[in-house]
């Protein structure tokens, strides 16, 4: 199998390839080390595919970068914290500098967190940076995944990378939860108490799982050390591995790009890695790092000394998990209890705890992971996609995404139902009852609304294409009517607004499909076709070339006659863009 490395006779040495004249001072210094490295690891050949690789430019592509950079900040600040943090639940008496807790019994974990906060110079800064970076890490991953979803970047060939991303999101959430459970203060201990109850509620194996996780009864003296191992070794290693795979696939597939003039499915337009992205992305890393540091300096987060050491007989009102656990917390809170626990013989089935935890997690991560495959099945589309969708051009997908966000948001609000009740002075029970309904109803409304907004935006595109852009110039014709003059848009914009492929809503297979399908296949095909109608029946068709040419001719006509026929053209009155052609002919018949 091992083929000999291909050798080109007389292949020139590295420095010989560079024309002598172009060697500036940088290269004169670098020549020695580069030659040294090249003779050992073939630097030039190694870098050749990447050195000038092109990446497209868009602000929304920075979201994933924020996630990556905040993960690096987490690794760096985390290393500093491990130097001082003691993952031990052994009880000691606190003798540190924080007066209010002196003399109290507490775990070494909590005492060392206090020491990091008050005695180690820079410790508080690094603790707060670590916590902020974690909140930012998950937030950026979620925002990044929404960008990917709404632009359809998960389509072939990137489905696997999307699934890897879902894995990263799930790991990130648990990594964060285990991290903030370590200091063993009253708040984190309350979180662990919740973990205990949740693990225990698992049908059939719950008690065993609880005893295996905690090393016996809650809280025991092992859980902090075990979570510490997961938090600083196992999960970061998994995240690192998946990040590496994620980025390698981005390089292999080349980055997607937004549609526009000169951008095609088989090219990528942008700037090269060196020097532009080295400076932009490298600079952006420092910006993220810097902003996280400033957050650590200026914004307090998780002041564990205020909460006090963990005491299983106490809890603070308004206890909240970090934001990314809010949706699970919310599901647990708004679940009605009575009736959802089965007592069968001498066993107890605690669905009131298990379901609201397991279902939303499964629905969120499972739903995300499986979505690209569902959509690909519906469309039957087997081609590769490198040009991104504008979210409005797939109203149903966008609607589904907004529905999922709304569902997540309702659960998330549930996680703070007590805070909402106290801050807005409303009944806690009313907030909870409302959310019990809203978690099912709001996503449906959001879907319909978002889909309609998308179609509205498609109509706005239609308007721009056929009538041009609003110029802000209001004209009054001799009969006293007002209208706004429209300016034609550039060909580049016209192309960007019309280049998307349109999917057809399919009619059901007639009769039994003339023996083309077996019974089973026919049922599946009918289902698929129904799904295409769900997806694409309401999507606005883009104007044809003939319509555009006619509109352009008309525009030209109007421009040359200045005030033309004096028809107020009613842009923006929102009626019947389906009758666009009709409106136009009114203009044409003065």
């Amino acid at each position: 199998m091992a083929e000999p490395a291909i050798t080109v006779p007389g292949s020139p040495a590295v420095e010989a390839e560079v024309p002598k004249k172009q060697i500036g001072p940088v290269f004169r210094v670098a020549r020695g080390p580069v030659k040294w490295a090249d003779e050992r690891i073939g630097v030039a050949g190694l870098l050749r595919p990447f050195f000038r690789k092109v990446f497209p430019d868009h602000w929304s592509f920075l979201l994933g970068e924020i996630a990556l950079y905040s993960f690096i900040v987490l690794l760096l600040s985390g290393v500093f914290l491990t130097i001082w943090f003691k993952p031990s639940m052994a009880e000691i008496e606190y003798e540190g500098t924080y007066q209010l807790l002196r003399g109290l019994p507490m775990s070494e974990a909590y005492a060392s967190t206090l020491s990091l906060s008050f005695d180690i110079r820079g410790g508080l800064l690094l603790r707060q940076m670590h916590h902020w970076a974690a909140a930012l890490f998950v937030a950026a991953m979620l925002a990044h995944s929404l960008r990917i979803f709404f632009t359809g970047a998960f389509r072939k060939p990137r489905e696997l990378n999307w699934v890897i991303g879902v894995g990263l999101l799930a790991l990130g959430i648990f990594e964060g939860f285990f991290g903030y459970s370590l200091p063993d203060d009253l708040l984190s201990g309350t979180g662990l108490r919740f973990l205990d109850g949740a693990v225990r509620a698992t049908p059939v194996i719950g008690t065993w799982a609880e005893f295996f996780v905690f090393g016996g009864e809650f809280p025991g003296d092992l859980i902090v050390a075990r979570l510490y191992m997961l938090h600083i070794l196992l999960i970061p290693a998994l995240i690192l591995g998946l990040v590496a795979a994620h980025l390698a696939l981005v390089v292999y597939h080349k980055h997607t790009q937004y549609p526009g003039a000169g951008r095609t499915e088989d090219s990528v337009v942008g700037y090269p890695v060196f020097p532009v992205y080295a400076a932009k992305a490298g600079g952006f890393f420092f910006i993220v790092f810097g902003v996280v540091t400033l957050m650590g300096a200026l914004m307090q987060i998780n002041p564990v000394w205020v909460f006090g050491p963990y005491n299983p007989a106490q809890v603070t009102a308004g206890s909240q998990p970090d934001w990314y656990m809010g949706f699970a917390e919310g599901a647990i809170r708004i679940m009605p209890g009575p009736g959802w626990e089965w007592h069968i013989g001498s066993t107890t089935w605690s669905w009131n705890v298990f379901l609201p935890l397991a279902l939303p997690m499964a629905l969120l991560f499972g739903g995300m992971a499986i979505y690209p495959f569902i959509e690909a099945w519906v469309t039957g589309d087997k081609s590769e996609h490198h040009l991104l969708d504008r979210p409005r051009n797939n109203p149903t997908r966008t609607g589904l995404g907004v529905a999922a966000m709304t569902w997540f948001g309702m659960l998330w609000l549930g996680g703070g139902n007590d805070v909402i009740a106290s801050q807005f002075d409303v009944s806690l029970n009313a907030v909870t009852y409302f959310l019990r309904v809203a978690v099912f109803v709001a996503p449906v409304l959001a879907f319909l609304l978002a889909k309609r907004i998308c179609i509205g935006l498609q109509r706005a595109d239609h308007d721009r294409l056929l009538h041009g852009a609003e110029s802000g110039v209001i004209e009054r014709d001799p009969s006293g009517r007002y209208s706004e003059r429209h300016r034609p848009i550039t060909v580049g914009e016209q192309f960007a607004l019309t280049q998307h492929a349109e999917q057809d809503a399919l009619v059901p297979v007639a009769g039994d499909g003339d023996g083309e399908y077996s019974d089973r296949q026919l049922r599946v095909e009918q289902l698929r076709r129904r799904a295409t109608r769900f997806y694409f029946a309401d999507t606005l068709r883009k104007p044809t070339r003939a319509e555009l040419e006619e509109a352009a001719a008309h525009h030209h006509h109007r421009a040359s006659h200045e005030l033309g026929a004096g028809q107020g053209n009613g842009h923006g009155d929102g009626d019947g863009h389906a009758e666009i052609a009709g409106t136009e002919s009114e203009h044409l018949a003065p």
Binding site: P219, P272, V315
Partner: protein
């Protein structure tokens, strides 16, 4: 990965290809691709003064970094940990603020300088890379299949099948030690183990109810109507460390006094209270938070974690929230010296549900 390395400048012929394609396919592309827009120079490309200004900006940002870094060192060594800045209602530790601002701005300035450099001064001519489909080339696919065939053949796997099968078995079973090795992660919750741990608390006949902070025993006359006392068993004080905290997590109680005429006391529990003083587990039956928000007038006790609400005037039944089971009540009486004591342990396991829990004896609305 043998890829084309050359990103071509924008005017490469690939463009025209795209253009022709979109010109021809009228239905798919109502507007033909006009090709890459003309590159417009930036101000700094045409005005040397603007370029100089941008250069100065970049150099300023980079130049500030050493100063800030030295500032960080100064703050680190010179500012004591107990200096504070007061900004009206806000208060900040001077050292944390100083370290964070100097370090944060030094990082931020490197970033801003680099981005400004790229945006204003580096070449901004867009380039084009051609894409190759994700699929391997047909000759690579063919090569792979032939080689796979050879590999299978050379390994003799097809002719000596028992090797493959036994290897699969071996690989499956090599996980057994790894799994078995985890069997001691915790004690096994057998029936006996459960009875000694999660189904049992420190409470027993004659154990005094004590205040959970002072460990003072409680006399009925100390408890006013409407009052709630957080309590623990007196024998908790003898324990230390992990044992202390583990027992405390189960044995915590609330002692409340209500007017016996305004509450429902079932016949089966008529001798569980002392003159309207009732004692309940403080550990929520939902996921185990200590419940502590007491509504004196309604006799409701609300858990601040997930808002399960229990009616202490009605044997602890759930009136709201995600809990499904009544709060266990501790039968109490008074001892010879007039202090409140338990009559036994809780009659059912306290805390959140678990699979093997026999929940047939918990109080339900309507029981007597």
């Amino acid at each position: 990965m043998s890829e084309d390395t050359g990103a071509s400048p924008i005017h490469a012929s690939s463009d025209h290809h795209g253009h022709e394609l979109t010109e021809a396919d009228e239905a798919r592309y109502p507007v033909p691709d006009p090709g890459h827009p003309e590159h417009l120079p930036r101000l700094a490309d045409v005005d040397p003064k603007a370029a100089d200004r941008a250069t100065r900006q970049v150099a300023f940002f980079f130049g500030m970094v050493p100063l800030l870094a030295i500032g960080f060192a100064v703050v680190y060594f010179a500012v004591p940990g107990d200096w504070f800045f007061d900004f009206g209602p806000l208060r900040a530790n001077a050292r944390n603020l100083g370290l964070g601002l100097t370090f944060g701005f030094s990082l931020l300035f490197i970033g801003i300088g680099a981005v400004q450099w790229a945006r204003m001064l580096m070449s901004d001519e867009e380039m084009v890379d051609l894409r190759h489909g994700a699929t391997s080339k047909p000759e690579d696919q063919k090569w792979m299949l032939t080689e796979l065939d050879k590999v299978v053949d050379e390994s003799k796997l097809t002719r000596r099948k028992v090797i493959g099968r036994s290897l699969l078995g071996a690989l499956a079973f090599v996980f057994v030690p790894m799994l078995v090795g985890l069997a001691d992660l915790g004690p096994w919750p057998t029936k006996k183990k459960r009875a000694a741990t999660i189904e049992k608390t420190l409470w027993a006949e004659g154990v005094r109810l004590v205040n959970d902070v002072t460990f003072e025993p409680i006399k009925p006359e100390d408890v006013e109507i409407g009052q709630l006392i957080n309590g623990e068993p007196a024998n908790l004080k003898d324990l230390e460390g992990t044992e202390f905290i583990t027992q405390k997590a189960k044995a915590a109680i609330v002692v409340v006094r209500m007017d016996p005429n305004t509450i429902k006391i079932p016949a089966s529990r008529s001798d569980w209270h002392v003159g309207g003083i009732l004692c309940y587990s403080k550990i929520c039956t939902h996921v185990g938070c200590p419940i502590s928000l007491w509504e004196q007038q309604t006799h409701h006790l609300l858990c601040p974690c997930h808002q399960s609400t229990f009616d202490l005037g009605n044997s602890g039944v759930v009136v709201f929230g995600p809990a499904a089971r009544s709060l266990p009540q501790l039968p109490i009486t008074i001892d010879g010296e007039g202090y409140l004591v338990a009559r036994s342990d809780f009659t059912v396991p306290v805390g959140p549900s678990f699979f093997e829990r026999d929940s047939r004896h918990d109080f339900e609305e309507g029981d007597n």
